[in-house]
């Protein structure tokens, strides 16, 4: 499991890889919170195209970031969900709450156009 974090304009992008479960979430959460604490951002894109498996621990991690961002009026977009990840997202109802784009390039295009 890993996360690669970079800045795109006023947004932060986190590209996740591997399985997102109770063992990997703490590692990824610490890294992302450290990045969020260091800078002001308008929003967060979490790209899940490299995530093969996600359960309620992973959903909780994403929902937690969504609430954290929303407190300061920030947005959260998730991208690249497929297979088991998509299934769990849809069963959870989280797709009703958190914006979703097919792919990371599509999300980057959308935030560029918003300005």
């Amino acid at each position: 499991m890993g996360i690669e974090i970079w800045r795109q304009g006023s947004w932060l992008v986190g590209e996740l890889t591997g399985d997102l479960d109770i063992a990997s979430v703490p590692v990824v959460r610490v890294r992302l919170e450290r990045s969020l604490a260091k800078q002001e951002v308008d929003g967060l894109i979490l790209d899940l195209s490299g995530v093969n498996f996600l359960d309620s621990s992973g959903l909780g991690f994403i929902l937690g970031r969504y609430h954290q961002l929303a407190e300061d009026g920030g947005k959260t977009i998730i991208t690249g969900i497929q297979g088991q990840v998509k299934r769990v997202f849809e069963l959870s109802g989280l797709t009703e709450l958190i914006s979703r784009k097919e792919s990371l390039p599509e999300a980057l295009q959308a935030i560029r156009e918003e300005k």
Binding site: D21, F53, D55, S56, S57, L59, G60, G83, Q84
Partner: protein
């Protein structure tokens, strides 16, 4: 009708959750399930095992036992702990968590129900919990038209 089974036993460490879902999936593969069926089984095992790590033994480590039995095209999976038990029976059928962890959503048991055909919960305060779940495999393959 041939039957086959496996039993797994391990301590309730977070890093064993991935082991549990991989091992059960590898075993269930014998029934030639579809990719979505196998994904649902992984999800259910991951949720059941995570609940044991988080809720059954909140302060320390305890024993997790999982058995999977193949009966024709059906798999029966039992997940056992001898932890604290589910003391609020409402937690079983309703969304919500009893843990003060901001990032838990209280949907683990609901996900298991959605991913399996049937779920039974036996629990006793202070004695532990056993989940028994069933799923019929190769279903989606014959019901063509479904993804």
């Amino acid at each position: 009708m041939t039957t086959n089974y496996v039993r797994l036993e391990f301590p309730s460490k977070p890093e064993n959750v991935a082991f549990a879902r991989t091992a059960v999936s590898a075993f269930v593969s014998q029934l030639d399930p579809t990719v979505p069926e196998l994904a649902d089984i992984s999800t259910a095992i991951s949720e059941a095992t995570t609940n044991i790590v988080v809720h059954a033994y909140p302060e320390s480590e305890g024993l997790v036992r999982i058995s999977a039995t193949l009966i024709g095209q059906r798999v029966k999976i039992e997940v056992w702990d001898n932890g604290c038990g589910i003391f609020d029976p409402r937690s079983i059928r309703h969304f919500g968590t009893t843990t003060c962890n901001q990032d838990r959503m209280g949907i683990g048991l609901s996900l298991i129900e959605a991913c399996m055909d049937h779920l039974e919960i036996e629990t006793k305060e202070g004695e532990g919990t056993q989940l028994t779940m069933w799923k019929c495999l190769g279903q989606q393959r014959s019901d063509s038209g479904n993804d």
